[in-house]
Amino acid sequence: MSASKPQTVDYKNKTALIVDDFPNMRSAFRMALAAFGLTKVDMAANAAEAIQRVKNTAYDIIICDYNLGDSRDGQQILEEMRHLGLIGLETAFLMVTAESVYERVVAAAELAPDDYLIKPFNADVMRSRLDGILAKKEAFADIYLHFDHGEMEAALAGCDALMQNAPKYRIDAMRFKGEILIAMGRPDEARELYDEVIRMRAVPWARLGLAKAQHMRKKEAEAETILVELVEQYPGLVPAYDLLADVQIAQEKYQEAQATLQRGVETSAKSILRQRRLGEVSYRNGDLDAAKTAFDAAIQKGKYSVFHNPNDFANLARVHIDQGQTGEALKVLQDHRKLLQESDEGKLVASVMAGLIHTRSGNKAEAERHMKEALRLRESGTVSKPELLLDLAEGCLKAGLAEDASALIGEVARNAHDNQQLLDKAKAIYHEAGRPDEAHSVITQATEQVVNLSKEGALLSQRGDMVNATKALFRAAREAPRNPRVLMNAAWAAMRLVEQDPGESQYLAQVRMLLDDVALLAPDHPRLGGLQTMLRSVESALGIKSTASQRLKG
């Protein structure tokens, strides 16, 4: 029998942030921490304060209450801090919850904190939990460092070593290794790893990881089976709904995807991204009432989130317009006028939607005025979603600005040769305007070159001619600078080329720009993480200090 006491941590030099909305709870935490020597403590009462604090100070420890009244909750704070890169893997994050929501909070976590503590608790338990987290962070210190420097092979090797030599951290190491493999786009190995965990115990995160790996391997049916069982057994497991919707969309089961997201939203209504996706899928399914509810919710949630986006207003206004409620649509724009005027993208949304409203209600002069304003904003370089550009094109066409309309539709088509939904909508605009012939010529002309260059690039890279493949795919990327798939293909080819011939490393700066663009256009694209990791590996192999961003979910 062993009776050794685990070694204790010295807290004198540690810094901590306490996030709780009750002042007396904050001081109770502070006193509890002081009891074991931790006196460098800051406090925050809500999400905004907490985020401001971490922007200014790097804390070793964050103790955060889950329920913060009207503010964003603890889980949202954790996700925003990680999303914005404000805290690293080495920061200990301890989530405090009431027993009544504990299981729900755990199940809903897309990104897990280091530990959970149930209120009420005493200072000894808090200390022993912090001891545990900090000891684990120490065991993982080298792995985190490798990860931060983009040395992924070394990080993976570090995980393997821990799995071998530190039985206590075996599962933690496997979990982190799985996340790295998924982020690197190596689903075959991830799948084996998660299978191994599941053989020990079918914990929800491992089954979720396995489903993710299967989805990346395009084994959608397998992934769907796992996820359906998972949400059956753990109805509170919110991330499973999001992934299940991805898997269903990949199989073009849009009705099912809508139902899945609807269940996800009912389980946890807080995520603005989930609301937005529900709105998009519902809109695609022609379920305008559902789309309206979801887009409206996205706007409400977005008011206090870093994930807010002016395009949410366009989405909601568009549904109203489609339902013939132009007054309601106008109200959306008026109610959020201030927010929309804050950014050029917002102004563009306001002009296009106002123009479209007037177009539909036959107000020709007004419509034209707004459309011209929108075109002016576009000329000054304001970016926007393709859906909005098509709205603008529709307005222009009806206002007699045919050339502008064709240019816009051409631009959308060039960037969306592989998106049938957008192309169909583009065609519909011409048809509705009674000019079906133009649809064909504008769209074909616009997509022809990207299609050909992409084919050529794919063929060349299959033959191993990375020099010319890269050239063709970079030309395609210049043609379609807003098509994430085209950009990623170009980035991939260039990196393969540099791997083969380090003399071509001049491409890496452009690769970085391509991937940064993709991160803006399609931050959740399943291929993006793998390519970012690939860039970091290629750079670190050449001794270049990486500047590529990497986001790790988990």
Partner: protein, 215 residues
């Protein structure tokens, strides 16, 4: 809001306030005066015990509205776990001799919901702190292929009728010790693996032994 939910919300608020009160007591240092320190320790213990009881009551109430699903089952170190429990036990009574023991065949990790299991074991710890003469031991062992966490003391042991009630799976009374046992059994049985469910066992072995086994 139904009456039951209203009561639940009230209990919840009381529990939180009590927890704050207890944390404040935690911060009054012992002053060396026997009388003062003993009273302080007793007050803290009672506050914590009551807060824990309220928490359990709320969870039992929740379980009547649907099964308890343990979504937080994950890999934890049994060794760290028994040390944490021992540390808690010490904080309730600094005079007791509290030891943590891990039997040699216990693996480095086991899968369980640590927060829930800890809550289930807290009753036994409160009990042992009350009845132990000098010693309390927190032990991790392997029994019948399950991880067995036990709280052992050198008291006179459990009365026969309580052990019988637990062994025979009889309904347990809904107050005092009975409530704690009900909760412990609920949490033990919510741990499932390979078609097996966890168990609560009470027996006497040089004192009272409260044991939860998780598969």
């Amino acid at each position: 809001m139904e009456y039951d939910d209203l009561y639940a919300a009230l209990l919840h608020e009381m529990k939180n306030n009590l927890a704050l009160l207890t944390m404040s007591l935690d911060n009054i240092p012992a002053c060396g005066d026997e009388h003062h320190d003993r009273q302080l320790a007793a007050a803290r213990m009672l506050g914590q015990k009551t807060a824990d009881r309220l928490t359990q009551t709320l969870l039992i109430y929740k379980s009547t509205k649907g099964d308890i699903v343990l979504s937080a089952v994950d890999a934890h170190s049994p060794e760290d776990f028994v040390h944490e429990l021992a540390q808690q036990t010490r904080s309730f009574n600094r005079k007791l001799e509290v030891t943590a023991q891990v039997e040699a065949d216990v693996p480095a990790i086991w899968f369980f919901d640590r927060n829930m299991l800890e809550m289930a074991l807290l009753n036994a710890i409160h009990n042992s702190v009350n009845y132990a003469r000098q010693r309390v031991e927190i032990r991790a062992g392997l029994r019948d292929g399950m991880l067995a966490i036990s709280i052992r003391d050198d008291s006179g042991g459990y009365p026969a009728h309580i052990m019988a009630a637990v062994t025979e799976g009889k309904p347990l009374q809904s107050q005092g010790t009975g409530l704690g046992l009900r909760f412990a059994r609920l949490i033990a049985e919510a741990h499932r693996n390979d078609g097996r469910a966890g168990e609560l066992r009470l027996y006497n072995e040089d004192g009272a032994v409260f044991e939860i086994r998780v598969p």
